[in-house]
């Protein structure tokens, strides 16, 4: 058994996984990774299930040291400078941390959350099937709170597996897509338009519970008190001051402000990775489009193992080729791993 010791870490860093499902009816928040795709990518690189427990690292720097043996790790998510024992390493690539070596991560360069996955995953005592930290409820394992320097994880010794990189699709850009509702009828057309047509910035006071938005004040039709009802990740509630709050993974399970819209599942992680102060817009989409995107997003996560490539070879960047529209036929051939056969029509 090796250990991975947290040698330095900033605030807003904690153990997270796919979250705690099934007990929202008792007021138990789901929690879990703010950017599920990046969590899944990092885990896939080291052979873990997509939603295994990993370290969610907030915007500040962090360092981790292997003790009592080697540890295989991978980092995905918000880009940052990273090195092992002074040698730069790439994001989205697995790497071995030898006994005594330190992984050093700089500040996030854009985005907020980077995921450090460890081969064999972080071990602890699950509550409702999850190790995710929910500091307010005192939940999470092995530490029911944000991480501190000196914390350590017991880790399976690194296997002899060869190193891998993962080819992720080009990040989606453009507006954050929302579905109007459930209480869009608490706003008149002018205020719905104001919400959809304005530029927004995420306030620096945002956290895992909610992202507060800076922009024009949105006015309610009938006041800001509704009878509390259920919330989801991405619910956009508008409190009395008119400044919308997007509810994130540590949200309360119910809330008493009208919710004008809901961020679509496929875009919640993108919003989570939007840095404070960066301007962005919302765009309303149809239920059909939102559900189609949700299914594609789930399929993307399921397909991550097929996107692994040996770390030491320079293979085709399929997404780049696809985007350039020069390799329509070859792309599927490479994906299927049957280049020779499929290349002959």
């Amino acid at each position: 058994m090796s250990r991975l010791v947290v040698t330095s870490i900033g605030p807003a860093s904690s153990v997270q996984d796919g979250g705690r499902h099934g007990a929202q009816r008792y007021g138990l928040t789901v929690s879990g990774a703010m950017d599920r795709l990046s969590l899944a990518a990092a885990n896939t690189l080291v052979g873990n299930g997509p939603f295994a427990a990993a370290v969610e690292i907030g915007p500040f720097g962090a360092s981790f040291t292997a003790r009592d043996g080697a540890v295989r790790i991978a980092i995905s998510g918000a880009p940052r400078n990273a090195d092992v024992a002074g040698n730069p390493i790439a994001m989205d690539t697995s790497v071995i941390l030898k006994d005594g070596e330190t992984l050093t991560l700089g500040f996030a360069r854009g985005g907020a959350f980077t995921y450090l996955a460890i081969e064999g995953a972080i071990k602890g005592e699950p509550v409702f099937g999850s190790l995710a930290v929910n500091a307010r409820a005192g939940l999470g394992s092995p530490y029911p709170r944000p991480l501190q320097a000196g914390d350590e994880f017991n880790i399976d010794a690194a296997s002899g597996a060869s190193e891998l990189r993962i080819e992720l699709p080009k990040p989606v850009s453009g507006p954050i897509r929302v579905l109007l509702g459930p209480q869009d009828d608490e706003f008149d057309d002018a205020n719905k338009a104001l919400f959809l047509d304005s530029e927004w910035k995420i306030s620096a006071t945002s956290d895992r519970m909610g992202y507060r938005l800076e922009g024009p004040a949105i006015k309610h039709l009938h006041g800001h008190n509704i009878v509390s009802d259920g919330t989801v990740n991405g619910s956009i509630q508008v409190p009395g001051n008119g400044a919308p709050i997007v509810l994130m993974m540590d949200r309360g399970t119910s809330g008493g402000y009208p919710k004008i819209a809901t961020v679509i599942t496929a875009d919640v992680g993108r919003l989570a990775q939007t840095s404070a102060g960066t301007a962005f817009r919302f765009k309303a989409v149809s239920m059909a489009e939102a559900q189609d995107e949700a299914r594609k997003f789930a399929q993307l996560i399921r397909s991550l193992p097929d996107r692994l490539r040996p770390a030491d070879t320079t293979s085709l960047n399929i997404e780049a080729l696809s985007d350039a529209n020069v390799a329509g036929y070859a792309v599927s051939a490479v994906d299927a791993g049957t280049w020779q056969v499929a290349a002959e029509p």
Binding site: G27, V227, S228, T253, T262, M287
Partner: protein, 243 residues
């Protein structure tokens, strides 16, 4: 009774959840229909539903759009919601001890003043209430109760407190509450209970369920300390009776 209510509205809560709304206001009939639909989903599960969250007036149904689409799910939910309410089953009743006033209920005197009566009268009215757990939400175990004496209805505090103690027994608007964990609150704090509605390593982890009945009884502050120690050790210090 159910037939006098309009069919619920289906409100999209994003692409993976739908709010089945029976009423816009706090309404006991609506809450009964919410809990009936919640039960119906346990009795006749719909493939693709991952979790249902009952609230005062609506049921939030989480689902996997990879398994069922909004329209198909909506149709099934409306069909279930239109069924006649099942005959009321015997509800569990919890008798919850409360230490009122003083350091445990810092708003008791102010509430009495605002309502032009005595703290003892407030306690008597609160204890006399026959409550129902309408929903659990916000933080683990926070039980929202219907059935508050109309005399005790008063608007929430202008300035919510950033932290109120674990076990707080409070009132806010037309609602009464049992709060489990320390949390922000804009409600009026009448007392504290040693009962943990949520305790991690206890069986059951969650004491109350939506639909349970609740009554309170007053204890002195010394008894509170004793019961609090027992509760901390994992004992359930509320009495359960079948109503």
């Amino acid at each position: 009774m159910a037939s006098t209510l309009p069919p619920p509205r289906l409100l999209p809560s994003g692409d993976s959840a739908v709010t089945v709304e029976f009423s816009r206001t706090i309404d006991d009939d609506a809450n009964q229909r919410v809990l009936a639909l919640d039960k119906a989903l346990v009795a006749s599960p719909i493939d693709g539903i991952t979790e249902a969250v009952p609230t005062y007036r609506s049921l939030l149904v989480h689902y996997d759009p990879g398994k069922i689409g909004f329209d198909a799910l909506g149709e099934k939910l409306l069909a279930l919601a239109s069924q006649k309410l099942p005959p009321a089953t015997k509800a569990r009743r919890w008798r919850i001890p409360v230490a009122y006033g003083g350091e445990h209920g810092i708003d008791l005197e102010d509430v009495a003043k605002a309502l032009n009566t005595t703290p003892d009268d407030i306690v008597a009215r609160h204890v006399a209430g026959d409550y129902k757990v309408a929903m659990i939400g916000f933080t683990p175990g926070w039980s929202y109760l219907s059935g508050l004496d109309k005399f005790l209805h008063m608007s929430r505090r202008q300035n919510p407190r950033v932290l109120t103690p674990a076990g707080t027994i409070s009132i806010g608007g037309v609602q009464a509450g049992i709060q489990c964990l320390a949390a922000p609150s804009g409600w009026h704090l009448l007392g504290r209970t040693p009962v943990r509605t949520y305790q991690l390593h206890r069986n059951p982890t969650f004491l109350t369920e939506p639909g349970d009945r609740v009554t309170f009884y007053a204890i002195d502050h010394k008894t509170f300390e004793e019961l609090d120690r027992a509760a901390e050790a994992g004992e359930i210090v509320a009495d359960q009776v079948v109503a």
